[in-house]
Symmetry: C2
Subunit: 225 residues, 2 copies
Amino acid sequence: MDRMAALPGMSAKPVTIADRICETLREAIVEGALPSGAALRQDELAARFGFSRMPIRDALRQLETEGLVTIHPTKGAFVAPMDAAEIREIYAIREVLETEALRLSCPWLTGETLQEAARLLDRIDAEPNAARWGALNAAFHSLLYSQCGNRRLLHLIDAHHAAADRYVRALLSDPDYHGRSQSEHRAMLSACERGDADGAVTVLRAHLREGSQTLAAAVQGPIER
Amino acid sequence: MDRMAALPGMSAKPVTIADRICETLREAIVEGALPSGAALRQDELAARFGFSRMPIRDALRQLETEGLVTIHPTKGAFVAPMDAAEIREIYAIREVLETEALRLSCPWLTGETLQEAARLLDRIDAEPNAARWGALNAAFHSLLYSQCGNRRLLHLIDAHHAAADRYVRALLSDPDYHGRSQSEHRAMLSACERGDADGAVTVLRAHLREGSQTLAAAVQGPIER
DNA sequence: CATCCGACTCTCGTATACGAGTATACGGAA
DNA sequence: TTCCGTATACTCGTATACGAGAGTCGGATG
């Protein structure tokens, strides 16, 4: 998102109240403070944030497009449910989108970009905070896809990564997951460094499938939040 | 999205003013009545439709998520530009999404569904109206993907088909396109009837690539609307 | 005792109103 | 003549207000 912000001189976008509320709500949902299925009453949120319902409405609509809430006219907005089926759907989509992006991008990755990716992996290793971990994870993946030449595809991938991130947060408890994920990341990166696009895609595919299974299994029974 | 709508008895969703305005604006944009880059002033639209700005705002936000308009805070909404690059991006995404959906769905397609698909093709042949043609086209594709078991994927495909439809409308002039498209449709359907998923996917891939090239070539020079 | 009907409440959709930021046009100065 | 500053007009974001529809609880009736 916000690729324009990369261009240094321009943009200077005005940030609206709705944007800030949207960000706050997103973090609350992803982090689990707002549990699955919770009703998001416009009045209540307006009172809590100290603004009118209008910016709240805008924020909720934005979150709906991100798949974090569902809105039904006359019934209101609710935190989208988390279930194993949803995870499998999101990951199946991520698999086709991201493998394609990596395949396209791999031949155009420069040494500099790959070095930056390696640095990101190190930062991920050192990062204890879950929110930042998710962001760094997304940044690493995005970097490898960045040269795919399809902005719209990158945007789609970002959106689905964010949707999946909500589930990943629920996995903090599993210490193995982090380690396995990182070793797969490194395998993917080294394939890219060799210029082995097919190999990188294979690793990525396995990486996503394992993530899907791990998350689906974790959500299946224990966590009801 | 719209998981509830699948359950037959219920839904009966209340249709809001914003929904109707959204539909009207979408048709106007797709059809070309609102040219690329046109400013969509909120009060002007409010006056034209006879409602306040609030439903118009909601409709514009919805159209933004569909990629038909771009919104900049404090600057307003504009009809999204049409260009060849955008076409290639959309079609590249459609290719990975739709081939995956078809691959998953093909083994589960019943004779009844295939017959309905065949009937749709006949209706397409007989349909002169461009708007209906696009809808029937989408319906045919969706039907073949319907058994993929991934609602989210189907929704994504719908969205991108709608985004592409806007460009397809610009191709009314080319009488060949319709015929070629239909013969490819029939080849795809017959592969599905044989249970040849790989064959169907191959045809679909070629179908989409040809569509992409035809549209990109058409938009390249002549049409500036 | 069960069921059906009606009034009440709660929430959302929509309308109207106000303030702030930006673009534009006009006038003055270099 | 050209450039810049100021003032004006325009548009959007946000606040407040009102009406309608759905859900709910209680009472009355069969």
